[in-house]
């Protein structure tokens, strides 16, 4: 009895994540995809055609025949969208590099800290997650605004005599994104650096490397999987980031997340917003697939 049940059970267990993906990723994806092929309309919901299965097969076929790629041509035809994509990619890329530059020494320092201190440091990296993301971004408004904490402090020190305009600029967006996603950079880097055998560095020094050369020739190449994982974890959400540019960025900042939001809510143009979303997904699938392949390769060589 049990013997017959086991394979069925194990198959069911395997299906759970698939069902999850099906219900919460694939089905919504197709709904959005379908809307992206529709036309905007003053209706409820605000697009046509809607598929009504109650009117019979012919009606469904007629609805499907009305689908078109017009929205995609529209998105490609308007430099606003192209620029928003490009600017998002640029902001995400710069933020990723900044997060790496800050995160790497942080993670490296953590792995070199005494063992008793490491868990505390790790805790401090994770600690910000205990406060809502939105509240933390609001807090940055209080810090960065012209009469905010940062300017008051700098004025008090006499470093500046005019408040710096940081809020509502791209600088504020970089600060916000790097701040928000830094833990996602630090944690994979920490994991990669921590499992590294320190005797490798000693061996490099023994063979004539200065500490700096040993880092560059041994530590850094061996931490590349962590660098890649951290960069992906920062880059991918940063491209579609909405909250940070909306709260900290200015009106001139173009980011695709903001554009998408305004298409959806300000313009009520669901089909175009859906097309923008589908394209964003396609843009991000490329690095994700690449990342997955590199990870699989790294696992292969680890055995």
């Amino acid at each position: 009895m049990r013997r017959h049940l086991a394979p069925i059970l194990s198959r069911i267990v395997i299906w759970v994540p698939y069902l999850w993906l099906l219900a919460l990723f694939l089905v919504p994806f197709f709904i959005v995809f379908k809307i992206s092929l529709s036309q905007t309309a003053i209706a409820m919901p605000p697009y046509l055609p809607t598929i009504d299965f109650s009117e019979g097969w012919a009606a469904v076929r007629e609805s499907v025949s009305e689908f078109s790629l017009d929205n995609y041509f529209w998105v490609f035809g308007d430099p606003l969208y192209i620029n928003a994509y490009l600017s998002s990619l640029k902001i995400a890329a710069v933020s990723t590099v900044l997060a790496l530059l800050i995160g790497y020494p942080l993670a490296y320092g953590m792995t070199r800290a005494p063992e008793s201190l490491r868990s505390i440091l790790l805790m401090m990296v994770i600690l910000p997650f205990w406060t809502s993301f939105l509240i933390r971004i609001y807090a940055w408004i209080g810090i960065l605004k012209p009469e905010g904490l940062l300017n008051q402090f700098l004025l008090f020190l006499g470093v500046i005599d005019q408040p710096l305009i940081i809020l509502n600029t791209n600088t504020a967006i970089y600060i916000g994104i790097v701040y928000s996603y830094l833990p996602f950079m630090v944690l994979p880097l920490y994991a990669a650096l921590e499992k590294m055998d320190y005797s490798l560095v000693e061996a490099a020094q023994d063979l004539g490397c200065t500490p700096l050369m040993a880092f560059w020739k041994v530590t850094f190449p061996l931490s590349l999987p962590g660098v890649l994982a951290g960069s992906m974890l920062v880059f991918i959400p940063a491209v579609g980031e909405f909250v940070v540019p909306d709260l900290l960025g200015g009106s001139e900042t173009l980011m695709i997340g903001k554009t998408l939001w305004s298409e959806f809510f300000a313009n009520r143009d669901w089909p175009v917003a859906s097309a923008v979303a589908i394209l964003l997904l396609l843009i991000l699938v490329v690095p994700i697939v690449y990342f997955q392949r590199v990870q699989a390769k790294a696992r292969e060589s680890e055995v």
Binding site: A203, Q205, D206, L207, G208, T210
Partner: protein, 379 residues
């Protein structure tokens, strides 16, 4: 002149007062927090010597090796190499190379690149590097594995790569930290002889750390036995085995029987030893312990004979019951239980295939030994 342990050495710079010391540890101490790893230790190692640091784990032997490599700085005292004080000289400027216990092969580089690593750092020209790498690969018999990554090699092959990498720069001294620890017994024995041949061929000075006494005995010109950060004895394997200077050394190397007691009727070169059970043995004696001193008589199992009857010519003999027998092929071990409950270990070489009237469990037997079979230890 009689040689200890049936071996005569032609290479013995330590016995030559004119020999120039090559590596000198002078009053070295190393303290980690509250733990003293190395305690006011002085030691001289000579050029071309195969020197083994032996001791239980945590005795400070690895710390000593790492101080020579430059990975630890002595808390006090100094290390000299070929007359040069190594204080403040970082590892990358020392003419020594180390083979790490974990091998520490760079996982992201091929075998070839691993071996070439140190040469590249030196700024050697490419053709020379290629030539040297090839020679090294040939030396460790891994020519066909040049392009492999370390994870594609077996433990023994990795060990060879690590050896080739540490030899590639032609260091003055090669440091080896438990080099054979990860290998199985058979491979280890093979590699021991290969290492010795290699050392002889290249004319290098080897300093090896190990906790495996058999390994130390096989390879070393001299062994330093360490415990708790101190040197207990520095001598040839034969001296360590046949003439240990203390109970710890005697018991750490091989197996040994120790009888506790004291000396009586001491004359020049000989004395009587009264065991605490009352038995009296005649022993030969060097200088040192005085009449009445509490000492231990330490005798190796193979220096004692076992027989059913007391041999007529036996100087010293004690009887008991055969308690355990272990047949090992080349020899047989007998544990004889004395009447006061102590166990005496003896061994017999099986030089004949058949033995008439062999001993069995619970037979009464006599264990006999010559006056010079044992060592009298006062420490």
């Amino acid at each position: 002149m009689a040689s200890l342990g049936s071996i005569r050495r032609s290479f013995a710079p330590w016995a030559d007062p004119a020999a120039k010391p090559y590596i000198r540890f002078e009053n070295i101490s190393k303290v980690f927090g509250t733990h003293t790893a190395v305690d006011d230790l002085s030691l001289t190692i000579y050029e071309r010597e195969f020197f083994v640091l032996l001791g239980p784990s945590g005795c400070g032997k690895t710390t000593l090796l790492r101080m020579l490599g430059g990975f630890e700085q002595p808390t006090s005292g100094r290390v000299l190499l070929d007359g040069q004080d190594l204080r403040g000289v970082p590892p990358y400027r020392r003419p020594v190379n180390m083979m790490f216990q974990s091998y520490a092969l760079f996982p992201h580089m091929s075998v070839e690149k691993n071996i070439a690593f140190g040469l590249k750092q030196e700024g050697m020209a490419k053709p020379q590097i290629a030539e040297r790498v090839e020679r090294m690969l040939k030396l460790v018999k891994l020519e066909s594995y040049a392009k492999r990554k370390p994870h594609q090699l077996s433990g023994g092959q990795r060990q060879r790569v690590a050896l080739a990498r540490s030899l590639a720069k032609r260091p003055k001294v090669l440091l080896l930290d438990e080099p054979l620890g990860a290998l199985d017994k058979k491979l280890r024995e093979e590699t021991q002889f290969e290492l010795m041949d290699l050392q002889h061929e290249l004319g290098l000075t080897f300093v090896i750390v190990t906790h495996d006494q058999e390994e130390a005995m096989t390879m070393a010109d001299r062994i330093a036995v360490m415990d708790k950060g101190k040197l207990l004895q520095v001598a040839t394997p034969a001296e360590i085995y046949e003439a240990p200077s203390s109970r710890f050394v005697a018991e750490f190397i091989g197996s040994i029987n120790t009888f506790e007691g004291h000396l009586t009727e001491k004359t020049a070169g000989a004395a009587r030893f009264r065991d605490k059970s009352g038995a009296v043995f005649n022993v030969s004696l060097g200088a040192g312990a005085a009449d009445g001193d509490a000492v231990a008589l330490a005798i190796r199992p193979e220096k004692m004979q076992i027989s059913r009857e007391r041999p007529a010519d036996a100087v010293n003999a004690i009887d008991g019951e055969v308690w355990d027998i272990a047949y090992l092929g080349d020899m047989t071990l007998y544990n004889v239980r004395l009447d006061d409950g102590r166990i005496v270990k003896t061994s017999m070489i099986n030089s004949r295939r058949t033995v008439e009237d062999a001993l069995t469990w619970h037979d009464r037997a006599w264990v006999s030994f010559a006056p010079d079979a044992g060592v009298v230890l006062s420490r």
